[in-house]
Symmetry: C2
Subunit: 329 residues, 2 copies
């Protein structure tokens, strides 16, 4: 295993410390563990908390700031945060307006966030939640009942975070978060695996001529494995599955072409070239495109495409000001 680390047992702590030292104007780390909250707590609005295992950077700490999250909880690499961690995060950010938990659909995440939510409610904090399940690749998977929550989660952070800044109620913020979830679909592929530092070896193996279609953000198995195809062919495969799942006809959409960690931006742009052509052919209008690393899988070489169907409310909230380490609008 070849990585820029100091010791496998220091990865998460030193990463969070390095993130907070880079962005003290945005982030503060709680004394109780790897939970980052806004450097300046904002009262009078619904507070948003998200998180999950580490290894998906800039998710989720990179999205803490004005217009997005109030707290991000970082578990060990590819491991759900504990209920205590999430509970500490909720307590740190709670306002009278309440707290919305944005949970990616993994069994451990859902269980631990829900437990934390119950602990906070016992303290008198209003807590609601949404569960993101945007991945159309597989119905159930290694760590999940139902569809997995992947890069589309970043759209939930952005849009629900913007809604919260308007002073909307907890019910309203939850409703718009759910609207994003109902309208976003994602699918990914990979050609090289990633190595969890504590494991010391890749989570799966792919031959030099193989790709995995429908891969999860932890390298968990996808839809199928095949000989590698061209970027245009792979993109078409993923887009066919995404576009079959929602009727985007006549809609305006936001697109995210997300790199898994080791995919050059050059290749993500080549992929977007085909995504844009496919959408144009189908008369689906692209309102905004994001190309970059938004929800990674350590150094997996892969990508995902997310397509979000927009209405006027979602467009306004997508464009609203965001000022966080990893997302500015």
């Amino acid at each position: 295993m070849k990585k820029f680390i100091n010791g496998t047992d220091q990865v998460e702590d030193q990463m969070i410390q390095g993130m907070v030292k880079a962005y003290p104007q945005y982030l503060r780390k709680l004394d109780s563990g790897n939970v980052v909250v806004r450097a300046n707590k904002k009262e009078g609005k619904v507070a948003l908390i998200s998180g999950g295992g580490s290894g998906h950077e800039p998710a989720h700490g990179g999205y803490v700031g004005e217009g997005m999250l109030d707290a991000a909880v970082a578990g060990a690499v590819f491991t759900s945060p504990t209920p205590d961690q999430v509970y500490e995060g909720i307590k740190a950010i709670a306002t009278d307006a309440g707290v919305l938990m944005v949970i990616k659909n993994y069994t451990g995440d859902v269980m631990n966030f829900e437990m934390a939510g119950e602990m906070a409610e016992a303290d008198g904090i209003k807590v609601k939640q949404v569960v993101v399940n945007d991945d159309v690749a597989v119905k159930d998977s290694l760590y999940t009942v139902g569809r997995r929550g992947v890069a589309g989660t970043v759209f939930v952070h952005k849009i629900a975070g913007a809604k919260a800044e308007t002073g909307a109620s907890l019910d309203e913020v939850q409703a718009v978060a759910q609207k994003v979830i109902d309208n976003v679909r994602t699918m990914g592929a990979a050609i090289r695996p990633c190595t969890v530092p504590a494991a010391g070896k890749p989570g799966f193996e792919l031959a030099e001529d193989e790709m995995e279609i429908g891969i999860g953000i932890h390298g968990e198995p996808g839809t199928y494995r095949d000989k590698i195809k061209t970027a245009d062919e792979i993109t078409t495969l993923l887009m066919d599955k995404i576009l079959a799942d929602i009727d985007y006809t006549g809609s305006e959409v936001a697109v995210m072409v997300n790199g898994s960690g080791a995919t050059p931006l050059m290749e993500l742009f080549i992929i977007n070239n085909k995504v844009a052509d496919i959408l144009a052919e189908k008369g689906i209008k692209v309102y905004k495109t994001l190309v970059g690393e938004y929800m990674t899988s350590i150094e997996m070489e892969g990508f995902s495409i997310s397509v979000l169907r927009l209405d006027d409310e979602l467009k306004t909230l997508l464009d609203a000001k965001a000022d966080t380490p990893a997302f500015k609008a």
Copy 2:
């Protein structure tokens, strides 16, 4: 070679097309080739042009927009753009205030930009230039006489671009660009090579226990090769060399921890954790830190650290508004 591409002869064209399709609100591609300019030309200010070989994305097209560049020229991967390309870019963006060329110090880049500048001057366009040479790793290298121009170039784009937006003269914009160059130093390291698509195999080889210290952004040889060390040790090696080159004592600085393409953000934060500690120990105050992929080397697994000594003018210009695909402030 395993990449998300369609054909090795289509990489640059499809990348630029995919970039422009992602960001039509920012970018327009010239008909004459792989040159991107601002979607909306701004008159009455000095126009900035930069560029170089492709493979460094988001550099340079990602920095075209308000507060940074007016044009970016993309040569073939790791290959200088032609004088004609640069000349077309200059003509497209030229204003009465003149054009500043921001050139990274590689022999081919300098020669071809200078030739283009002369062609434009023959047309009556005012053209000046700066040459960025921030890499302290080696004095001369495979492609360069003198120090190489690397990630510190992004600080030149940001600060000179902000100065140009104020309506400053060409001499003033050139002067502040040169001030950045005089005050920024960079050094990098890598643990895995990258593959130029047209070459089909890695540009160099490193054993599973080896690293290259002082590597260039095209994978060209660095200062030396050694057994891999911890992130803290490698960071200390690079910082020692950077801090020995300028007396940063008592200064405020901006820091950039730049990923080479395949280095997980997790590891860049671990590196920044040590960078911040080293600067704090020496009493050098960090004004702003950037951690991410700013000047990549396709999918090389490596990073560089840049340290820029700031004064009040540079701080103001660093903080000024920038609105580009890859850099917002």
